[in-house]
């Protein structure tokens, strides 16, 4: 599983990264977490609001700092 955190690196992006890392750990998943900070790459995804979360190349959330439990819910689908 590939999880991408889309955002230029502000505190909100860091909070979402922390939620994703905690969720992956609690679910005991084999996942690669990648931070995407290149604005061109972010807009290629169609994301206009950050932070955003993409799982296996699909954007599943944008403009929200998801909690650990919200990320867990998404990853469990």
């Amino acid at each position: 599983m590939k999880i991408e955190i889309l955002g230029v690196g502000c505190p909100k992006c860091k909070m979402l990264t922390a939620s994703a890392e905690a969720a992956v750990k609690e679910l005991n998943l084999q996942a690669e977490i990648v931070k995407v900070t290149d604005i061109d790459k972010i807009t290629e995804y169609g994301v206009m609001m950050t932070p955003a979360l993409a799982v296996n190349g699909m954007v599943v959330s944008a403009g929200k700092v998801l909690s650990k439990d919200e990320v867990k819910k998404i990853l469990s689908k």
């Binding site: 230029v8 909100k12 604005i39 950050t50 944008a62 403009g63």
Partner: protein
């Protein structure tokens, strides 16, 4: 972090931007409102194409406004089809007829003020010479 996109989405505005005079008017009104800070302009085509990043970005908004030039209401219907609740404005209801509408600064300002409840006008008098004075 000059390009940070993490500010609150707030109000997003989706003009139909159709090929007619009223379509052009919807587009220019949306751009005017965006320039004046009344809303953020967004891409209706991205919603119609179900681009996940755009759909998710739109979900983070407090309010979505659709501006349609004619009663076909493409913007309103596109957004509703994607599952959004929309505040919709139709230029036909404001007296603008397709093929008979002159698109100029006066008309743009008139419509923008109707949609924003006069806030564009307020900004113009406060910031004359600023973005809204253009």
């Amino acid at each position: 972090m000059g390009n940070c996109m993490c500010q609150e989405a707030g109000v997003l505005i989706f003009p139909c931007s159709g090929g007619s005079d009223v379509g052009e008017l919807s587009d220019r009104v949306a751009r005017k409102m965006a320039k004046c800070g009344q809303a953020r302009m967004f891409c209706l085509a991205g919603i119609g194409a179900h681009i996940p990043g755009m759909i998710e970005s739109a979900k983070s908004a407090n309010k979505l406004i659709a501006i349609d030039g004619c009663p076909v209401s493409c913007s309103k219907k596109t957004l509703e089809h994607a599952g959004f609740k929309v505040m919709a404005f139709n230029l036909k209801d404001m007296g603008f007829e397709k093929g008979k509408t002159k698109v100029d600064e006066h008309t743009i300002e008139k419509v923008a003020n109707k949609i924003s409840g006069g806030k564009v006008e307020e900004n113009i008098s406060r910031n004359s010479g600023g973005c809204c004075g253009n």
